[in-house]
């Protein structure tokens, strides 16, 4: 342990701590910086985190200094302030100050630090600034503006150290130095949008988010990525009922500060044209829209105990929904005619960084709840001779031609979010809320329960899944009393055999890895 004095305040930190982190702890806020990033190597190129250390004649950068016992550090002295201001002025010599058209404005390091440490009058006329290339498309997701760049090299280090793809580098020297893509290459990896996040200025911007919304208008809601079994923590930035972007939320147990591009673009499905916003029922001319009450009556008519041939869920449904669905399926169809999903669906290669081989966010919950998955061929066989109703909860089993062909004589009830093959073949379609439109729990491949909150409202008449299922259960005479989500989560805890029934109602921000009783062993990814 090392004890040092920072701004007159005694602080004890473990040996080997960076002085930068010790200063953050002592000051309660970061030192000014561009290039330092806790998950990347130290570059020490921006020179902004200058501190004054007693005994050293010159100012030193804190990010590249390790703490020593007995160090006396000044971070707010006149000398430091002057140095920071001058370095900031250097950074801004060639900056185009095009904040009005820059997507970074509002969350920009330059803006924040100019307001905190700069506030000088610029001595460089706009005409004298070095002009560089603007609007350079350097990859499928990223646009580069070399004028705005402060050469902090965070993006270069990211591509070197995290993805190992090494597309980016610094070219030329002096005030002609610029970030660029290696000759003949593009910034085309599945993590390229992370460079946009870590860029402290507006040099790298997202093509998807470009000019869509000013960031200060967005409101943030914590969610969980539905893209794969990793369950990266995301922040949904939304405004007016529409999600504009997803950015990673730091969770060192799951995804660190990163997230893959695939997951970050998964919000597009929510606002797809094919979203179901109204209940549909088969009439004379195909599917016709129905009011909620009519659809509800029709739903109750179609789902009668004994009249249901098979009940099929999907591993993209949340933990609470699967618990309720299992209860419903047992009541309607029986254990033999109940499955949690189609076996083998959504399996691909893992990329070794974040993207898991299992591209379903909640398959682990199926294992916990002992809801078996069924192979398409077996399901087709089961359905071929059956009569009655086929209840499909989420997913799109009819994308498999054999299942669609085998279910020809069944009346299909589809509870789901999109107008897909299953919905088109259904007798009754009930619109549900998509993943970011409901408060829900997800179990990732490692058995961590994480909570995604409701960012936007579901379109039209679409309802939260658990309400529909609870309504059905209530109609079928289930004695459960489920006035709200908290009660559902108590039921889930009971179903999982957790000792504390309320544990799921006060889940920590980073999620929870529960100790489950032996009957439901946690399996590998």
């Amino acid at each position: 342990m090392a004890t040092l004095t920072i701004d007159g305040q005694l602080i004890t930190v473990p040996d080997g701590t960076r002085l930068f982190d010790a200063c953050r702890e002592a000051r309660g806020e970061d030192l000014p910086h561009f290039c330092y990033h806790p998950d990347l190597s130290v570059a020490g190129v921006c020179r902004l985190c200058q501190v004054e250390i007693e005994g050293l004649p010159k100012l030193t950068i804190a990010c590249n200094t390790t703490v020593r016992d007995g160090m006396v550090v000044q971070t707010r002295s006149k000398r430091v302030q002057q140095a920071v201001q001058q370095i900031l002025e250097m950074h801004l010599i060639n900056h185009p100050v095009d904040c009005p058209i820059c997507d970074q404005a509002g969350e920009c390091g330059l803006q924040d630090q100019y307001m905190a440490y700069g506030l000088y009058e610029s001595e460089v006329a706009k005409a004298d600034k070095v002009r560089k290339a603007k609007v350079q498309v350097i990859g499928p997701q990223v646009i580069l503006d070399q004028e705005r760049c402060v050469l902090c090299t965070r993006c270069v280090r990211f591509c070197d150290e995290v993805t190992g793809t090494r597309e980016l580098g610094i070219f030329n020297r002096g005030d002609r130095a610029e970030i660029g893509v290696a000759p003949g290459r593009r910034l085309d990896n599945n993590y390229s949008l992370n460079t946009v996040d870590i860029c402290p200025v507006g040099a790298l911007t997202s093509r998807d988010f470009r000019f869509q919304k000013r960031v200060w208008l967005l409101r943030a809601t914590p969610t969980i990525c539905p893209g794969c079994a990793t369950g990266c923590n995301l922040r949904a930035d939304h405004e007016g009922g529409r999600i504009y972007r997803l950015v990673p939320r730091r969770n060192d147990e799951v995804n660190g500060p990163w997230a893959c591009d695939l997951g970050r673009l998964s919000y597009k499905d929510i606002h797809a044209e094919s979203r179901l916003a109204v209940a549909l029922a088969r009439g004379e001319g195909g599917l016709e829209s129905r009011g909620w009450q009519e659809a509800r009556a029709e739903l109750f008519g179609l789902l009668k105990p004994g009249g249901v041939a098979f009940a099929l869920a999907d591993p993209r449904q949340s933990l609470e929904e699967l618990v309720l669905f299992k209860r419903l399926g047992l009541r309607l169809a029986g254990e033999a005619q109940l499955a949690g999903g189609i076996a083998g669906e959504g399996m691909a290669e893992s990329d070794g960084i974040l993207l898991a081989a299992d591209r379903r966010p909640n398959r682990q919950a199926l294992r916990w709840l002992e809801l078996p998955e069924i192979a398409p061929a077996r399901l087709a066989e089961t359905l071929r001779g059956a009569r009655g109703t086929l209840l499909v909860f989420g997913g799109d089993p009819f994308a498999h031609a054999e299942i669609a062909a085998a279910a020809g004589r069944l009346r299909v009830v589809y509870l789901g979010t999109h107008l897909n093959a299953t919905a088109r073949a259904a007798q009754l379609v009930v619109p549900l809320a998509a993943w970011a439109e409901k408060d829900a729990l997800w179990v990732n491949g490692r058995g961590r329960i994480q909570r995604g909150q409701r960012a936007v409202a579901a379109p039209g008449a679409a309802r939260e899944d658990w309400r529909v299922l609870a309504d059905l259960l209530d109609h079928l005479g289930d004695s459960l009393d489920l006035p709200g989500l908290a009660a559902v989560r108590r039921l889930v805890a009971q179903e999982l055999g957790l000792a504390d029934l309320d544990v799921l109602n006060r889940l920590p921000v980073g999620g929870l890895q529960p100790e489950l009783p032996a009957k439901a062993p946690t399996q590998g990814e």
Binding site: C99, P100, I101, A133, K134, F211, R214, W216, L217
Partner: protein, 168 residues
């Protein structure tokens, strides 16, 4: 504010007999209103009413009238769709959809720029917020009329060429 020195209890002034008899007071009141009536009858021309469509009040040069969008030398809008005005607008009446401009020196431009004149409160904050002097409220137009609500939502083309009279 201090109430020191003021009496703590305010006593109601007692009305005299003639005041509470009301009749005399009514006559006094009638005299006052009658005086106004007669004066106005004899000097109709001196009434403060402005006979509006024929005569108009003079407004100062800082009067905030209907908005207009300024143009660049080539006639395209100066606006770069930075959304400062729509952000600062207390009535939330400005809607801008930004687009990618083919010229990388301009980069961002408003694909649409609509102002809902029915919601606008003419506070002038959009003018103040604009970093490019692209929006101004100096047209001096204050008679804004139409026979349907849709007409009050004016678009970019209208605002760029905004020297017509009030009829939308």
């Amino acid at each position: 504010m201090s109430y020191k020195g003021l009496p703590e209890v305010v006593t109601r002034r007692r009305r005299s007999f003639w005041e509470s008899a009301y009749f005399v007071e009514i006559c006094k009141g009638l005299f006052v209103t009658g005086r106004h009536l007669v004066r106005n009858l004899l000097h109709t021309g001196e009434m403060p009413t402005v006979q509006y469509p024929e005569k108009r009040r003079e407004y100062g040069p800082r009067f905030r009238g209907r908005h207009r969008l300024m143009k660049r030398a080539d006639g395209s809008p100066r606006c770069v769709a930075c959304m400062m005005c729509s952000t600062v607008c207390p009535a939330d009446c400005i809607t801008i959809v930004a687009g990618e401009h083919p010229d990388p020196a301009i980069e961002k431009f408003p694909k649409t720029f609509t102002i809902d004149l029915l919601r606008c409160v003419y506070c002038g904050l959009c003018e103040e917020a604009c970093p490019c002097d692209a929006i101004r409220m100096d047209t001096g137009i204050y008679e804004i009329a139409a026979d349907n609500r849709e007409s009050f939502v004016v678009d970019k083309e209208f605002l760029l060429d905004n020297d017509k009279d009030g009829t939308l």
